[in-house]
Structure formats: C-alpha cells, structure tokens
Symmetry: C2
Subunit: 349 residues, 2 copies
C-alpha cells in the first residue's frame, strides 16, 4: 500500500487570479467569452439533466454571502460569492467569488478556481448568448447604464456574440463612465457618453442595466423603453434590489434562467408570483419562442444561476489540462491506507 510520492489524488488543480488573467489574455478576452458561451449554451440545452436548487443565501446588514451548487451525473460544482455594495467605499470589491468542480463518483474536488474574474466573464457570456436569441436582428447600438466592474465585459461579449460595436454610456458617477470609456475606446468601440439614462437609451437596440445599489431603484421608467428593444437587466439580483419600473415588466416578454430563483431575486419580485415568464433553456432548445416580432420588447431578467458557474468551471477544467495555468494544491489528505488517517498524521511527526 506504500506509495513513493503523494498520489495525484491528494492535489487539486488551483487557478489563481494571476493564472486566470494569464489564461484569459492568452486566449483573447472575446474568444474566451465566445468559447465560454458555447459551454453555457450546451448546458442550457441539457437543463433537465441538472440537480437544481435556489442558491443558499446568508443575508446580513451590509450584504449577502451565497453558495450556488448544482450537479449533473458526472460533476458537482458550486460557487461561493458575496455581494456587498458598500465594499467599494473601503477599497474592497462588491463581489468576489471562487468555485469548485468535483467528481460525483468519488466526491473528490478536481478544480478550485478564482471566480471573481470568471464570474464577470460568465455573466457577460450569458447575457450575450441570451441576446443572440432575443435582441433585434442586426442590432449595433447598446446603451449601458451602470459603468462599474461588469460594464466592459458586457460590451465585449455583445460584440463577440451579437456584433454590437457602438455604446452609449451613463452612470451616476462620471468617473465610472470615464473609466469604461477609456477601456472600451482602447478596444475599438465607438463610445458616446450620455448625461442621463434617458439620453443613453435613445437609438439603442439593446439596453443593458448593471447598477449595484442594494435597493429598489428605478433606472428605467416606462416612457424610456420603446418598441423592439431588448433589455438586458443585470443589476436587480437580490431581494429588495431591482432596477426597472414594474410598468416596463408588464409590457415586456420576460425571459429568466430559473423561475424559482428569479421570482425571489430578479425584477419580477415586483410582480405577482404567477406572472408568465419563459425559461431560457426552452428557447435555446427550440421548445419555446424567443423574440416573435420586431416590435416586441424582450427582457432578460438576469440574476445568475448555478449552472452558468458550472459551465464556467467545466470550461476552465477543460482549458487547463496539461498547461501551467494552474498549480497543484495540497487540499486533500491521502493516507497510504484510507482507513489510517491517524497513521498518516503520526508519520508526519
């Protein structure tokens, strides 16, 4: 039973923030997002194969900490993620995250990864994937209300998947807009800075809202949204935190990830619990219509679901095999004899 070296089973590949950034940059951000969207689309197509549960949230005065698990027959994955809007005032981030992919057969983790960067990429990849099914054909202009950490990722994703290359930016904080303009102009976008949300949405085929205040906010009012627009609502993602006036919701065809979770956390927390919504996986499988006319207002009430993180972890796991974008982490005990954990401890003396 003696092994010359600790078995590979004892080690879990770990993707640090530095390695994630290396991997994204080596792949190219837009290619990375496109490939990741492919994994997400694949998993949406086999949606019924997953164990699904609303995320397990622990709320406190200043924020929330969540665990988001899901599993198919082969893999189990979960993400740890926090949301603390006040954090930025003290130089912390609003959202940090990490995740684990494991083998269902043995229960052993097979990947530990940073997910702060990866969540930003998967959120954008999901939005743009959904945009490909719901946005008006030939869309070129996107309004972006809220120019924080998620903004540039959304822009790159919508260019990679939907062909958007003109952006209209607005944020209550002009410094955030300047930051986004700088980053996006350097990436070849045509950027218009707007003085209000009202101005930003003019002439836009797609409206992306990604603000961060933890409150009922009204980023968009009913009069601001015109026929044929697609709304990509990112920021309303926990109880008591919404971005859209309920009148918009009543005029729009609403698409959601997992209704059980979205009714608690999304824009539709403002509506009756039986208000009709369409599950995106049905649209992607061709079992439900997406956009059905040029005049229709479509709304993706995005809250983020565990399966998207699972897809992201699965993608990273496939990418890092045989590369140096990860390092082995001594996270699992591996006694010579599995029943002799104590002997392993004694021999380490």
């Amino acid at each position: 039973m003696t092994r010359p070296d600790p078995s590979p089973l004892a080690f879990v590949p770990f993707v640090s923030v530095a390695n994630m950034m290396r991997l994204v940059n080596a792949t190219g951000t837009e290619s990375f997002i496109s490939e990741l969207a492919g994994y997400i689309e694949e998993d949406f197509r086999r949606w019924p194969d997953f164990d699904k549960t609303p995320r397990l949230a622990s709320h406190s005065r200043d924020g929330v900490i969540e665990l988001m698990p899901t599993a198919d027959a082969e893999n189990y994955g979960f993400k740890y993620v926090n949301g603390h809007p006040k954090n930025t005032r003290e130089g912390y981030q609003t959202v940090t995250a990490f995740g684990v992919l494991a083998s269902v057969a043995t229960g052993y983790p097979i990947l530990l990864s940073e997910m702060t960067v990866l969540t930003a990429l998967r959120t954008a990849a999901t939005s743009a994937l959904v945009g490909r099914y719901l946005a008006p054909k030939g869309a070129q202009v996107m309004a972006m209300i809220g120019n924080g950490a998620q903004c540039e990722f959304q822009a790159l994703a919508f260019r990679a998947l939907c062909g958007i290359d003109r952006l209209r930016l607005y944020d209550t904080d002009p410094a955030a807009t300047q930051k986004a303009r700088r980053n996006l102009a350097a990436r070849g976008f045509t950027v218009v800075i707007c003085k209000s949300a009202q101005e930003a949405v003019e002439g836009a085929e797609i409206i992306t809202t990604c603000t961060a205040d933890k409150q009922y906010a009204t980023i968009l009012t009913d009069n601001m949204v015109g026929s044929g627009q697609h709304i990509n609502a990112i920021g309303g993602d926990c109880p008591g935190k919404t971005e859209l006036h309920p009148d918009i919701l009543r005029r729009a065809e609403i698409f959601v990830e997992y209704p059980e979770q979205t009714r608690i956390e999304g824009e539709i927390q403002q509506l009756a619990p039986d208000h009709p919504v369409t599950e995106l996986w049905r649209v992607i499988r061709g079992e439900a219509p997406g956009r059905s006319s040029a005049e229709q207002i479509t709304l993706f009430d995005s809250v983020g679901f565990a399966i998207e993180d699972f897809s992201a972890l699965r993608y990273i796991h496939a990418k890092i095999g045989g590369t140096d974008f990860c390092e082995p982490l001594d996270m699992l005990a591996d006694p010579d004899d599995p029943r002799d954990l104590f002997g392993m401890l004694e021999r380490a003396r």
Copy 2:
C-alpha cells in the same frame, strides 16, 4: 488608488494538509483536541446567536456531497464534505473535506483550510465534549465498534477530555482492528481486541460506534446495551444509514446537535418525528439535564453540525496568525479601483 503591491486583501491564508499535520503535531494531538473542544463548547453556549440550516446535500448512487454553512454576526463559515463508502476499495477516502471562514462585514474569505484531518479531529472533540456531560462518572473503559479512520481520534479525545484509557476494539475487518491497535498501543492505551461487538461492549462504560456502510445496519442490538452506559453513535449520519436497533433508542435518553438535521440523518430517523430528544447546547448551558441517574442509558446521536466546523475554522484561524502554518493564496482579485476589474485584466497583459 494605486497600490505598490497587491493588497493583503487579495490573498487568503491557506492551510494545506501538510501544514495541518504540522500544526497538530506541533500542538500535540490531545492538546489540539482539548483546545478545539473549548472552541466548540464556547459556540454551543451561544447557539442561539447562529444562523442555522440543515446541510445542503447532493445525493448520488455512490455517495453524497454536502455544503454545511453557518454564520454569527462576525463570521460566515462553510464546509464542503463528501461521503462515499465505496471509495476505500479504490484507494480513495470515504470522507474528504475543506472549509472556508469569511468576514460577514465584507464577504471576503479570511481562511481556506483542508478539513479532512480537521473534521476527524472536530468529530472526536465533539464526541468527547458530549461524553464529559453524559458519560458515567469515572468511566475508564470504552468499546469501539468500527476501527476505521475515525477510531484513533475518538480514543485520544476521550482520554484527553474524559480520562478513558482502556479500549475494547471490534471491526468486521480484522486488518482495521490491527491498524487501530498498533496506533493506539503506541499512544499508551490498554487495548483489548474482541471477536464480536457483543464481546466489545462487555464492561465498557462508553460504547462508540463508528462504522461506515451506507445502509441500515444493526451494529448494536437491544440486549447488548446495559444500564448506565453512554452510547456515542457516530456512524449513522445520512438518510438510510443507521447503526442501532430502534429498541435501544426507545430505552435511551437521546441527545442531539440540531434536531432538524438529526431527524433526517441520525439514528432517530428510525423513530417518530416527534420522539423526544434533548438539544446538547441546552445541556451545556445548564438549561436542560444531562445524565440524571447512574442507571440511565444516554445516547449521543451524532451526525455532525455546521457549527462544529465553524468552531474548528475559528480555532485554526486563531492558531495560524503570525505563524508559517499557512501560505497566502491568490484567490481574490484586487483591482486598484474595485470598479475597474477589466482594467486589471488589461494591465496583466
């Protein structure tokens, strides 16, 4: 906003298996268990302060993967743990685990730790802490049925906290018993090897059952348990997995960690859902009686609860401050400007 180096916020202290073993051995296993039991006792005393939920379990054909979160006003903690009884046949362990402690105020993780070794220690520490409240006074002899990975830790914990120094071992697999005898004799215990569970319990004041089969088993039948004994039932810890004949449960005073979870996972899954049980935290606070007579049969129906893991993480976090028993892990992105996650990625190119 520019920082010369990544802020300490970007790094999470990580305790690897190797460092956990170094820490345990540097502290001394019995001292470590005693100190850890002190943290567990402290947290049991302030039980109402915690957010509590039954663990989130994902069951599959061969095992289970669980997330066990809890929080007080200051810290949030969770453990990932699997249970795969068939694993040992392939050289894997039945149980592996790791855990995270985080700040409630910011949502940032402040500790990532292996918990395979640590779980074995906290399970034993909890058992012996409970034993101190429930076992007959002056107990010296413990029967141990099931001589797998948990066995030696239980023995050391019961010596450190309750003064047990004589052990009667039985396992269906004689090799497991030989392994335990070897390890425990080297630690100064008087060990008797028994040919049956029946023989093992003779003359024992405490009976510890820690077997691992995922099934309804009958390790102890009613006739084997005599008046005044304390039963420390460790192995019955998931739906469909029990160790004791229900007649024993009906004769015993039953003590549990968190009834909502124990009724699903513990021995008492065999009883009516309203069968009376006593919560241990009430006993430890002096609000409910523990052992009330020398003749009483007491039973700790142990399944393991998230607060014990929280205590263990809190203990490790306190121990590692300023030491080299941990290493910094680049797990959290830390952009100069928290709203400029994309800029951080661009500058890494």
